[in-house]
């Protein structure tokens, strides 16, 4: 079972709130601007991410999604 953490970089307004609340200091603001002119957040240290959803809870723009991958062996359900 693995988790996917996605930040929609064109939805993100680079407010920095997620960066300030991440308990594992995973997030940073990128230095590449997005289509709206903001510097979006990204996982600078994804290996430290524990998928606690604190960033999702803090984000005013619902830019962060965490989903679960179902493993291949579990997909063959009779």
């Amino acid at each position: 079972m693995s988790y996917q953490h996605t930040i929609d970089k064109d939805r993100c307004k680079g407010c920095g709130l997620c960066v300030s609340v991440c308990p594992k200091n995973v997030l940073e603001l990128s230095d590449e601007v997005n289509t709206m002119g903001y510097f979006p957040a990204y996982r600078a240290r994804p290996e430290d991410c524990i998928y606690c959803t604190t960033c999702c809870i803090m984000c005013p723009d619902v830019a962060i999604t965490i989903t679960k991958d179902v493993e291949e062996s579990q997909e063959t359900d009779q």
Partner: protein, 245 residues
Amino acid sequence: MAKTYQKPEALSDQPTHYCPGCTHGIIHRLVAEVIDELGIRGQAVGIAPVGCAVLAYNYFTFDFQEAAHGRAPAMATGIKRVRPDLIVFTYQGDGDLASIGMGEIIHAANRGEKFTTIFVNNTVYGMTGGQMAPTTLPGQRTTTSPGGRNVQDVGMPIKIAELLSALQTPAYITRQTVLKPKYIVRAKKAVKKAFQYQMDGRCFSLVEFVSTCPTNWGKTPVEAIQWAEENMLPYYPLGEFKLPD
């Protein structure tokens, strides 16, 4: 420990027009999550204010009406009286609720109209560029109080949760905030409790949110959170001020 998170169905896909770090986005999301979890999207009618959230209806995927400034509680009264089965909420800011709409909110609360009000208190009039509000703190500089709010001249800020709690009619009145994740989790429970009271046909409910306005406060989103924690929470304490029982 690990969890999933996705955008609630009651929230639309449209990116908001709100400023970076604006707490409206968090509050909208909480309301949408609660509506999804309670399964009431098909009976919900939201009422948008005049203020930054005037376009709130673009961000939700259920019936919405747009109110004139301050009049949302009167509109909610009209809807709830003729269709008591609909779940109705107003979403209002400082100017809308505490200034021009003061008469409407007090009377709706006093009549015990069974709708829910989400009140976003960020001490300024955001949409029109940061003017003083009834909730502006003493000494706080705004575009119409450039020397800071002079309480000798215009009085002290109004504490809406306390004011409405003084009414004799049963109601659920609480003040929450979304400044940090721990507060957000608590606030969501309060919003759910408020809507549950409405679903039970019990009473009027109001959730006041201590909120930020980074742009008009001249601060970054993170600085604004800090300023609100240090300056707003002492004057606007969190908690449940009134329960209907």
